[in-house]
Amino acid sequence: MAETAVKEKEPLIGFGKTERRLLTDPLNDNNPITVQVLGICSALAVTSLVYPAVVMAIAVTLVTAFSNLFTSMLRQYIPKSVRMIVQLVIIATLVTIVELILKYFNYPIYKQLSVYIGLIITNCIVMGRLEAFAMANKPWRSFLDGIGNGLGYGAILIIVAIIREIFGKGSLFAGSPIELKIIGPTADYLINTTQSALFGWYTNNNLMVLPAAAMFIIGILIWIQRSYNSKLVDVS
């Protein structure tokens, strides 16, 4: 596991086997959502469309990476008793910066994500990685660990969002410049259900738009992952 402090001598900035594992481990074996059960709070609410999910994934990756970096730099100076407050201040500052940037560059998405951008502060991934990794490791590795975990979180977010958007709305990337309309009842869509003989029966599945659908999809993703990866199975 990558959780323990690395004893061997490490270069200031290098990219070897350990560094690569820091990036790839969270994608499957140590995924923040399906294995560590962190950061589900804000993850599910933004997955009804792909575009906000991508923006959210980028925002979380930035915050985890930089908060890991800064906490790791300061780790020798933070007294143990007040470390939570110090970590929260670092995270809250970074989230405020991300929020202001997003508000400036893309106001509609900022409106759509509403409180969930602010909720990155209490996203357990950020805090969890600070406690588990950044407090015990050097800055460069902590930074990579932050990026890896952000990507692992983003991967699940985007998989869930793609399933929900295709079956719930019949489109992909709605609201972004590269919007794709796949299946629907008007001529704009690639498959026009009013014309096509094969897909005449098709309507969008309203369950997919509901919050509950995200729970089912993640539950099933966990099921699939654990069937292939027997060491993750819950024995209790």
Binding site: C41, T93, T122, W223, D234
Partner: protein
Amino acid sequence: MEFINVFIKTAFIENLVLSYFLGMCSYLAVSKSVKTAFGLGMAVIFVLGITMPINWLINEYLLSEKGLFGIDLTFLRFILFIATIAAMVQLVEMVVEKFSPALYAALGIFLPLITVNCAILGGSLFMISRELSLSNSVAFGLGGGFGWFLAIIAIAAIREKIRYSNVPPALRGLGMAFILTGLMGIAFMSLMGIDPAAFASK
């Protein structure tokens, strides 16, 4: 009677866990037995009920343009809110330790973790974005906490029973908890038919 109206709406119709996914981390982690779930649920009700009006006052009298400093300081909202929440959780921790050492021992690490429970900060941010009044913010806090309490008690009771069922090994534990939460979310959606105004008019 708007107080009751807001309370019912936040507790049942717009349940924090089941329709906004707030506080999922501790909801999944502490729902293995009803007893600890009960304690954590009570603590969340208490913290939400206290922090909502305090954060409302901070937002109104310190951060807004009409406030003490006369300039728009809303970009400091996240930092001040999280500081208030951390302080309140510390307070609750001391109270619980004094009056119920057994509960304190049972909650263990999860009590300080209420600080990073999204339900608390999320509740504060929702309260601001909905522009509630001070009394309604109390109702919002208590109602949200009560809804969270109901949800965690329900899932804990189901998980206690399902331990004796023949669930596929790969689905056991976490996977099943997700699917159960989804089913509960659908069940709670049937409460959307409640008209809160009907309670208010009486």
